[in-house]
Symmetry: C2
Subunit: 342 residues, 2 copies
Amino acid sequence: MSIRQISIALIGFGNTGRRLAELLVERAGAIEERYKTRIVCTAIATAHHGSIVSGAALDLSLALDLVRHGKPLMSLPGVEQVKDSFEAISRSSAEVVIETTPLNVDNAEPALTHIRRALETGKHVITANKGPLAFAAREIQALAASNNLYLRYESTVMDGAPLFNLVNRTLPLIEIKSMRGIINSTTNFILTRMEQGSSFDEALSEAQRRGIAEADPGHDIDGWDAAVKAAVLANSLMGADLKPGMISREGIRHLERESLIEAYHSGKRLRLVTTIERIGDRVEARVGPEEIEAGDLLYVIDAFSNALIFETDLMGTIAIVEQNPELTQTAYGLLSDLLSIL
Amino acid sequence: MSIRQISIALIGFGNTGRRLAELLVERAGAIEERYKTRIVCTAIATAHHGSIVSGAALDLSLALDLVRHGKPLMSLPGVEQVKDSFEAISRSSAEVVIETTPLNVDNAEPALTHIRRALETGKHVITANKGPLAFAAREIQALAASNNLYLRYESTVMDGAPLFNLVNRTLPLIEIKSMRGIINSTTNFILTRMEQGSSFDEALSEAQRRGIAEADPGHDIDGWDAAVKAAVLANSLMGADLKPGMISREGIRHLERESLIEAYHSGKRLRLVTTIERIGDRVEARVGPEEIEAGDLLYVIDAFSNALIFETDLMGTIAIVEQNPELTQTAYGLLSDLLSIL
């Protein structure tokens, strides 16, 4: 049996990109056996360690080592340094670009330009960055379709838990009437801790120490992260054309510990809930704190866990739950997209 | 754009088979538009209304009408009566056999023979009957593979909620370490009602009135239904070769209303839980009542709802939940299998 080869470019090499690289190294044997395919990396673009391209397979283990020790990727044998991530994409011969740069909620850049550049130069795109899908879903989906290229983004919402693949690959002919869920881990963790007695600041610090909340947690706390995800879900699964700014949004900054404790002791919980509904011809979305009753599925979604409930025409109400995800799950989402392209 | 045609044989025409027939009539336009395919039925085998084959597409609406009014299917124009379901399969020119006869937990017949006959005569198989998968998974899967035919069975567990498709189509490379869930609606409904104060008999009668429990509810009450499903899950998703009789099994007949009420008032719930675990090289499964803590996902699975929690190597812990399914969901599971074959 002959082994095919597929080449990838890693654009962004932070926590998510590096965890994916580790998975590709660890699971190379299993992937080769199962898919008769060797995945080789031929370009890496980083924020702090330079950007490189190569004609042949890079040594990913060595690249991980270099970055771990704060050294530039130019030290890799046989690579050519390029100016930046854009040039890495244009100059790379990779078949698939994997985009994992950080979210920019103002204009989705540079991720949006990365994706456009990749699709324009004939490369499939897999992204963990929800910005481009929230701001320009129709444009980049049309660009991918007109070039006969894949654009996959499973890990943009609920890490690697299958949402887009669930609907697209296992629920044919289904129409989604609404989606409702808890899709931001930081706020869910903070609210879980506060109802147990922590102050907002203590809970936030703990979330930051555990690597869940960003140094600047405003996007989570004020509901922006959930609103961006809501736009991706609405645009991708319900045919909407929502921008994050069009979504009614209320954060958790003003919630008082006492109200949370009181709700908890009366058998309820306050949670940041995202709701997307089809109302007539329109799709509407909102993000805000809600009181959850004990019989509600969302009642048991605490700490870092996430859940999304789909109300459908033919399959009734089904939900997918992800319990306390870690970085591996986000990287797995990218890997599952890559394997689905194979 | 040319429209393909695919022909099916409906073997079994009870509640599930008829609901599928209704969906095929209702959604014919959407299927034709989306899949460029017309699904035509060319054979029906029933327990009480005869078995027929036809060279051309049957009028499914008329077939539904006839059965609704207690008339034999021979009244359909242009059909030929055959002796029984076996002859219907052998004589039919259908490309796909859809098997929906009732479960037989002793030997899986006649469903097992139906499936063998279909695969031996070159027909793909979709079944809602868990018996054959629980008793002879390896044999019929090998038979399908050696004939290059599909064998699909999404609706055997948790109706149409994607479990097999979830794992096979959206979780590539994943190894499942364990599965744990509530997968029998009748017992879950009875336990939900009993903790609210109903007697076992009242709760069972209500489940029967609502069409969930069978006239002979023993299979549900004694945990056989869950054990058969556990075998299907273990054999299909964890590479096991379990028979239902090898599964440790305890039913709910001996549970007292007082214990259920007491557990409920102390913030817990008694539920019939199915667990399948990989232990070293082996896969072990058990079915039995368990006390569920309030923080457990299964705590919110009440009435007819079902849930299955997967513990995996790369995707952590994820769960799928189906809230209060009805007959349509089972029929949809068959339809989703059929559309996935297209």
